[in-house]
């Protein structure tokens, strides 16, 4: 695998390989010294055109845990602010010879476009409302840790599907791993053609939510009200909020964060025993380590960029090799 651009590009075996690798990194994370030398001497550039806490920090930490040198560039305060085009920014950053560029952009297809302008592996950390593949992979990993295989599981994705790259990537990834996905939300917030495009079920109310093994709630932004997608946050919460009344005791709860407490989720379920929200964040680190490993150390050596030397196994620094 050269780049990670979309879930659409992946096969089941690819996902399995990455989540299995993440599991081995989770073991490393439980040691005193959490760093391995796998990517020593290699450079990872994080290029973020949108604000992000989880994705940006976990990619940065993931690269550091693998001993890579990391540069994080945020659009605010950079030459992007001065009107530099994406192409020129990539040319500039590529001049440092990075092995990987992690990019988040407000525009669909940005990561794909970047692959044509750099030799580095490109990781899509969110492109517009299109895809967010590393989020979907960490969600698959989180569920595998809890449920084992996803085959035959029923997963409901609830909320603002229209504006959500997470919904699109997760629906495809969950189905790839054998789950049955239903997206649910107000009719104004589910794109025309979504069911056909993604191959999932569509529901407009929560009456059948009881069938779900997993309820994945999406972030509902207040500004959607002003754009008349929903009449009011109050009506949205009344119809779609996941609370302890709606969430059964055997159903698992997920959310990509950041959560609007009291809108898409009630406080008691966020902190309740069914919630995997904190586990998702923990998974984010090891899955992103596994993604970097997959692209930079996992496959065949990349022409001209990498040497032919054997890459060392992920032995923690400071422990006997």
């Amino acid at each position: 695998m050269k780049d990670l651009l979309t879930i659409e590009d992946l096969k089941r075996a690819d996902v399995q390989r990455i989540t299995a690798r993440a599991e081995s990194f989770a073991e490393v994370g439980r040691r005193d010294i959490k760093k391995v030398p796998t990517l020593r001497g290699r450079t990872v550039v994080n290029l973020f055109y949108e604000s992000s806490t989880r994705t940006s920090s976990s990619f940065e930490l993931a690269a550091k845990r693998l001993s890579a040198d990391v540069v994080t560039v945020k659009a605010a305060g950079s030459s992007v602010d001065k009107g530099e085009s994406l192409k020129d920014t990539i040319a500039t950053l590529s001049a440092y010879g990075p092995e990987a560029i992690v990019i988040r952009s407000p525009h669909a297809g940005a990561a794909n476009l970047v692959t044509g302008w750099t030799d580095a592996a490109v990781i899509n950390a969110g492109d517009g409302k299109h895809e967010h593949p590393s989020q979907a992979l960490l969600d698959v990993y989180t569920l595998q840790q809890r449920l084992g295989a996803l085959d035959g599981k029923k997963i409901w994705i609830v909320g603002d599907v229209l504006h959500s790259r997470v919904a699109r990537s997760c629906a495809m990834a969950f189905q790839l791993m054998g789950a049955a996905v239903t997206v649910c939300g107000p009719p104004t917030l589910i794109p025309r053609g979504f069911s056909e495009a993604v191959g999932c079920e569509v529901a407009y109310d929560l009456s059948d939510l009881g069938e779900a093994d997993v309820v994945y709630a999406l972030r509902m932004q207040r500004e959607r009200m002003a754009e008349s997608f929903v009449p009011s946050i109050r009506e949205y919460a009344a119809r779609y909020q996941i609370d302890s009344r709606r969430l059964g005791s055997r159903q698992l709860l997920m959310h990509p964060g950041p959560v609007n407490r009291g809108i898409e989720l009630s406080p008691e379920v966020i902190d309740g025993p069914s919630s995997l929200i904190t586990a998702q964040v923990e998974s984010g680190l090891v899955v992103r380590m596994a993604i970097l490993y997959e692209l930079l150390a996992g496959g065949e050596p990349r022409g001209g960029v990498r040497s032919d030397e054997e890459l060392p196994a992920p032995t923690p620094i400071g422990e006997p090799a």
Partner: protein, 455 residues
């Protein structure tokens, strides 16, 4: 008021005001002019700016003539494009009058109309006079300039339509933007009784389309890109056709893209409303499936739509609901396209590929009759009061020499246009324009053909 019919050469170009001196004999050409009912193998004799004679094979003679062996080649009436962006003034890094009209000649066009959404927009008589003057110096084929319907294309106040008509505007359009106010459009349609100019409309309801970048459908749902629904076009067509009927006015609907739009135009025509319309080669041959690549060359407005919409456009072109082909040739500099899809400029070039694309994709597979395509390629002159090109003897010589068997790769030989944002680049096409005669003058010779026939 019924528009006076003028010859295409009455538009402005380098040939304006001078006698055409080119004398040509196209020997043994397979000629086809469906509108005039002419078909067969003849020697075509061009002299003094006119089709002097359609002589029997090998019988055509003219003193001092350049004789072209046209055995196995076709001659059609040259095409007319009522929808071109020459980007002058203000966008000369993308195109100018010289390069855009050369591109037209290379595509077999003997005339075109330039849109007014320039920078600044063409909204006063002085701008029209200046552009006409430039065209008389630089334009390779007769070129008409449209002026805006509203000042600054703001959709609020009418331009001085009568003065613009006197200054020689070829029509009116706010193309690029719809006229959202029904009140403003109604006033323009009323005022048309005085000014007489055709009004061409870009039909789109921004209330339904704002913030979007491609056709709303399964592909946009998969890509997470906000969609432009088909009904943003058809609802406006229905509104404006109703207004035109009420005011006994005429209007021309630009670049139809959707089935609902074809239906709306058909209903208006059936109701006796004086509405004409056009469709582009890209809407007739491509769908939103192309956008899956997120390649910005497939971004234009209106967007590529579904296969069902494409089939409706083809059927509309066949039946005559769609009057003509127009390219909406929209050049953009590279840096406006080398960006993520949602940020990229809307528009594709089209003049140099239009006929070959439609011939390859629709005529050769048997979807559309050659005669129908030839007629629709020239018919865009009529809604603007111009006489379409014809091969009838004694008419103005506007013709295209076409090699139906030639094979070529789009873009491989470069472009006449200053911009290269074609959605057909790399496609292998059958059939190529070898020579274009406009107003009795040779406006274009394909390079390899010119070399081959050079003495």
């Amino acid at each position: 008021m019924s528009p006076a019919e003028r010859p295409i050469s009455a538009l402005d170009w380098r040939g304006s005001g001078a006698e055409a001196e080119d004398v040509l004999v196209l020997r043994r050409a397979g000629i086809l002019d469906p509108a005039a009912g002419i078909e067969g193998v003849h020697d075509v004799v061009v002299r003094a700016g006119k089709i002097a004679e359609l002589a029997a094979p090998d019988a055509g003679e003219a003193p001092g003539a350049e004789v072209v062996d046209a055995e196995g080649l076709s001659v059609f009436p040259a095409f007319f494009d009522p929808h071109v962006h020459l980007r002058t003034p203000g966008g000369e890094d993308a195109e100018d009058i010289a390069t855009g009209t050369r591109a037209a000649a290379a595509g077999g066009y003997c005339g075109l109309l330039a849109m007014a959404n320039t920078d600044p927009p063409v909204d006063d008589a002085g701008a029209i006079v200046a552009l006409r003057d430039r065209a008389r110096q630089e334009a390779a084929v007769p070129t008409g300039f449209l002026a805006c319907v509203t000042r600054g294309m703001r959709g609020e106040e009418l331009t001085e339509m009568a003065e613009l008509a006197d200054a020689g505007a070829a029509g009116l359009s706010d193309d690029g933007l719809p006229i959202t106010s029904a009140r403003v459009l109604r006033r323009a349609l009323q005022y048309q009784r005085l000014a007489g100019l055709q009004i061409a409309l870009h039909e789109e309801d921004p209330e339904l389309s704002a913030g979007s970048a491609m056709h709303e459908g399964v592909v946009s749902a998969a890509l997470g890109i906000a969609g432009i629904p088909s009904v943003s076009e058809s609802t406006m067509i229905a509104r404006d056709a109703t207004l035109a009927g009420y005011e006994d006015a005429r209007l021309h609907v630009q670049h139809l893209s959707a089935r609902e739009s074809v239906d709306a135009v058909a209903a208006a025509k059936a109701g006796g409303i004086a509405v004409t319309c056009e469709a582009t080669p890209h809407h007739l041959t491509l769908t939103d499936e192309e956008v899956k690549s997120l390649d910005s060359r497939f971004k234009m407005n209106p967007p590529l739509r579904s296969e069902d919409d494409r089939q409706a456009l083809i059927e509309g072109l066949r039946s005559g609901t769609i009057d003509c082909v127009a390219t909406d040739h929209a050049p953009h500099p590279v840096e406006h396209k080398e960006v993520p899809f949602e940020q990229a400029a809307m528009g594709v070039t089209g003049l140099e590929t239009a006929f070959s694309v439609l011939y390859t994709e629709l005529v050769r597979p048997g979807v559309l009759e050659l005669a129908t395509l030839v007629e629709r390629m020239g018919a865009g002159a009529r809604p603007f009061g111009l006489v379409p090109a014809t091969l009838a003897p004694d008419s103005e010589a506007n013709l295209v020499l076409f090699d139906a068997e030639a094979e070529w790769e789009v873009g491989a030989d470069g472009w006449e246009s200053r911009s290269h944002n074609s959605c057909f680049t790399g496609l292998r096409l059958r059939g190529r324009v070898l020579m274009t005669v406009a107003g009795g003058r040779v406006a274009y010779r394909q390079r390899a053909f010119a070399m081959a026939v050079a003495p």
